[in-house]
């Protein structure tokens, strides 16, 4: 199809021909010899011109020669199975492909480069070394006195708690980036919620009108705010005495949206201040329609003055939203993580805190051991598990044991 392969890792110009030896395209071919390829297997890449019809022709030709189309993620799966990358890295490749925003790409790259795995593996190594001394003091009390072990153990456990705490924070943020944030936009009827959402989206997403109660249902829209995808939920206006069944249902949905949201934008008509109920949640009070005021009012903490109609104050609003979501541009790029990573990290931290408290209360060392093992297992779920025999190996290499 493309003639003989050249030396590995070197591009060679080639004519891509069909079965009848007719040239389909003139392109480049490169051969990645195992194991130094992405998947760890022999890989040949054909580079052809960008015409989709032409690409199709090349593919059809390849398939007729017995090639098989890769399933989604197959290359990464093979790379993982050939031990080229670990589980966390493999998952971040999938995220990289699916990532829609800059922030997500940066985070995916952080995980892919193994920073996340590396951190977890370091933590596992530290827990293993804690367990080595704890288990040695339990299984070999005559050779490894417990006194020497307890000392320093608490310090190390606490160091790991604080370290994993920071990893968890980053992971949680990563999770938010992956799964997106929900911001509910609520307020009295005709406060200008839908206009605000349209302004944020820089698009006419939601129908607006001067008639109060135009929005009956909660409407969701994904909006890219400085590189982060945030889901805004435009809701029906809330008032004390709803007039219709439909409005009552709309308000019910609004309440549900508030419950599920990470942040609530409480939109208030700046011309009708006073008498608004505050919302018992992480919220920003947005004073809208400021363009209709004679002078811009002084904003208190957690308030921002805008005009959805003119766009006034939106830079401030966006920045405040990002800060409240923990995504201000100053925060370090987070680690893109999955729900299971966050779950495992949370459990690991729980068990480490238990070990620390067992140590402080001078409960038995066997309970400390129990919690350290549980914590290490949780971290092992993220990257690599450590077996009890591995641990024994460590114990024997560190201590001179046995008679």
């Amino acid at each position: 199809m493309c003639g003989p392969l050249g030396a590995p890792w070197q591009f060679r110009r080639c004519d891509i021909r069909n079965k009848n030896k007719r040239i389909i395209d003139s392109g480049l071919v490169v051969f990645f010899e195992a194991p130094h390829s992405y998947t760890g297997e022999d890989v040949v890449e054909l580079h052809c011109h960008g015409n989709p019809n032409l690409v199709d022709l090349v593919m059809v030709e390849g398939l007729s020669l017995g090639l098989k189309l890769a399933e989604p993620g197959e290359f990464t799966k093979r790379a993982f199975l050939n031990n080229k990358i670990d589980l966390a890295q493999a998952e971040s490749v999938a995220d990289l492909i699916a990532a829609q925003t800059e922030e997500a790409i940066l985070a995916a790259n952080n995980s892919l480069s193994g920073r996340f795995s590396e951190g977890i593996n370091k933590s596992i190594a530290s827990l293993v070394s804690c367990r080595v001394s704890v288990e040695a003091s339990l299984d070999f009390p005559e050779e490894v006195p417990e006194g020497g072990v307890a000392e320093g153990l608490l310090l190390e456990v606490e160091a790991q708690i604080s370290y994993l705490g920071s990893v968890l924070e980053a992971a949680k943020q990563g999770l938010k980036i992956r799964e997106g944030f929900g911001v509910a936009v609520v307020g009295a009827p005709n406060a200008g919620k839908s206009t605000l959402v349209n302004r944020l989206a820089q698009d006419d997403l939601v129908i607006t009108s001067d008639v109060p109660g135009t929005t009956r249902d909660s409407i969701r829209a994904n909006i890219n705010l400085s590189g982060v995808v945030v889901e805004f939920i435009d809701t029906a206006g809330m008032r004390k005495n709803p007039v219709s069944q439909i409005e009552r249902e709309g308000i019910k949905r609004t309440q549900k949206a508030i419950e599920g949201a990470t942040l609530v934008l409480h939109v208030v008509d700046a011309n009708k201040r006073g008498g608004v109920d505050s919302i018992n949640k992480n919220s920003i009070k947005v004073l809208n329609k400021c363009d209709l005021l004679d002078s811009i009012p002084l904003c208190e903490d957690g308030e921002v003055c805008v005009s959805a109609a003119t766009g006034f104050g939106f830079d401030n609003l966006i920045e405040l939203v990002l800060i409240r979501l923990g995504l201000s541009s100053s925060t370090e790029t987070s680690l893109l993580s999955r729900r299971r990573h966050v779950d495992s990290l949370e459990s690991a931290l729980f068990f480490l805190n238990e070990s620390a408290s067992s140590l402080k209360k001078e409960e038995g060392m066997e309970l400390v051991a129990e919690n350290l093992l549980a914590a290490q297992k949780e971290l092992g779920e993220i990257t690599n598990p450590v077996s009890s025999d591995d641990l024994l190996g460590e114990i024997f290499s560190e201590f001179c044991l046995g008679k």
Binding site: K77, F80, L81, N82, N83, L87, E135, L138, D139, F140, P141, E142, E143, E146, K361, E362, E363, G364, M365, E366, L367, A369, E370, L373, A374, G380, E381, N384, P385, S387, S388, D389, D390, L391, L392, G393, I395, F396, C400, L401, G402, K403
Partner: protein
Amino acid sequence: MDKYEIIVIGGGHAGVEAAAAASRMGVNTLLVTHKKNTIGEMSCNPAIGGIGKSHLAKEVDAMGGLMARAADLAGIHYRVLNSTKGQAVRATRVQTDRDLYRKAIQLFLEQQDNLTILEASVEDLCLKAGKVTGIFTSEGQTIQCNKTILTTGTFLGGVMHVGADKKPGGRVGDPPSIKLAKKLRELPLKVGRLKTGTPPRLDKNSIDWSKLSPQPGDKPTPLLSYAALPEDRPSQVDCYMTRTNPETHKIIKEHLNESPMYSGAIEGVGPRYCPSIEDKVVRFSDRESHQIFAEPEGLDSDLIYPNGISTSLPLKAQERLVRSISGFEGAKIVRPGYAIEYDYFNPTGLNHTLETCCVQGLYFAGQINGTTGYEEAAAQGILAGINAALSVSGKEPLSLGRHEAYTGVLVDDLVSLGTKEPYRMFTSRAEYRLILREDNADMRLTKRCREMGLVADDLWGLFLTKQATAAKELERLRTEKILPNTKEALSLEKETGEKVRSTKTLKEILKRPKVLYKHLPGKPKKILRNVVDEIEATVKYAGYIERQKTDIRKLQKNENTTIPDSLNYKNVTGLSNEVKQKLSEAKPQSVARASRIPGVTPAAISLLMVHIKKEKKRLVG
């Protein structure tokens, strides 16, 4: 022609438990051994128990076995290791009188119904259509049977090394089983070589005891067996301790090239945790000293077992190294230390019943499976004996889970993972350590074994009493309260420093780390130590045990997801070649077992489960 239901080959610690268990279950059993008077011999150090090992010994006891009872009849020095730690890691260790131990075992066997003992050397097994049908002895005799349990220890192809000298042997003074070893190598089982060692024995009268520090036994003296009585024990003696020194280490280094371990004469793999003194000196060269326990071999014996200097150096070097040690300056070596190499069969060729996969009715137990230690051997022996007997009567086999017994951990590790070095039990091998304790082996096992006819009346009676007492006391602790500022509260505070600020149940008070059962008011006058342990552990570990039980339920689900024998791992898409190879070798019977194989990642398990589900669907519809 003679015929028995079960033939046990070997009279070591695995063999005697297997023979005793099978015959207790009413099955006609024959025990074949080279020498009747070495049945129950302790070939290595004269001690039973220790951490992880006492747990096994107590389980064997709870199943009606002999080991712990014999140890109590021969125990001359007792200690509870980890006594200041929690119940789960406490372990009893007994120094025994070698002769008393052997005699106790031999007496138990003599008194056992349904059991015959034959002195003979077994040369081959009779196999017919993949089934064992009998044995051939060196006398040319053929004895028929349904099941055979092989417990040949280090006798299969055994070679002993002292310096450059090597000669065939299974133990000092005993010939190895060469013909049988050859025959067994013809079976489709993976054979490997292991080695173990023993220190030189010293003459008691040639040691300057004033230079050693005495190590008295614990007071009050514990017992190993659940059914033993304090009057069963012989008189108690002290052990002594001394240490190696830089001069000792210098001598060892000078002679290192004469050690068969270092000259390459030994190919077998030795245990990591029971290193020879040569190993210790080489691997931990920064240590200036290693401890040595001078253990008496018996009340009337002149032999001392210097635990800690196992060696295979030539005799001359052994003499120099021994005499460099404080107290041993004039020591006479009665018998030199030696290393022994022997055949073992990789236990991945066994089922969880310890029956071989390739020959029906053939069971392996003990060192032949790559384990080390009397207790490990005994636990396998009793399990093999029980399963052979159950199989004879067409009953469901006994398989112990990892959450039920250390015996279960032991067998599952062996069968699922195999072993490349002599396998020894440690508590860190058990995932459910808090549940598997010395104090509750009977609670875990005795009832089931009673139903199989294994447990004698005395143990059964004691078990029922213990169970009832513990239940009654736990109920009392749950309901009875302690009020602030009462006499009880003040006495508790005085003893433990724990204040009672509001009304609390005794159970809540006992949960506090510093409070022990003995500090609580209203105890019955007489309560057994192991009942107290059971109560303390149940209360103090409550939260953890609950958590472990949740884990166990999860595991059970995976344990119940069986992997069909026919599964070809090559067809499981996505598995790496390494994992494929590991799984193909180990042939795990369930997903849970597969997940315990080192190197098999959680991701590989997911792929495997997907494959199994797909296969099942395909087969169904």
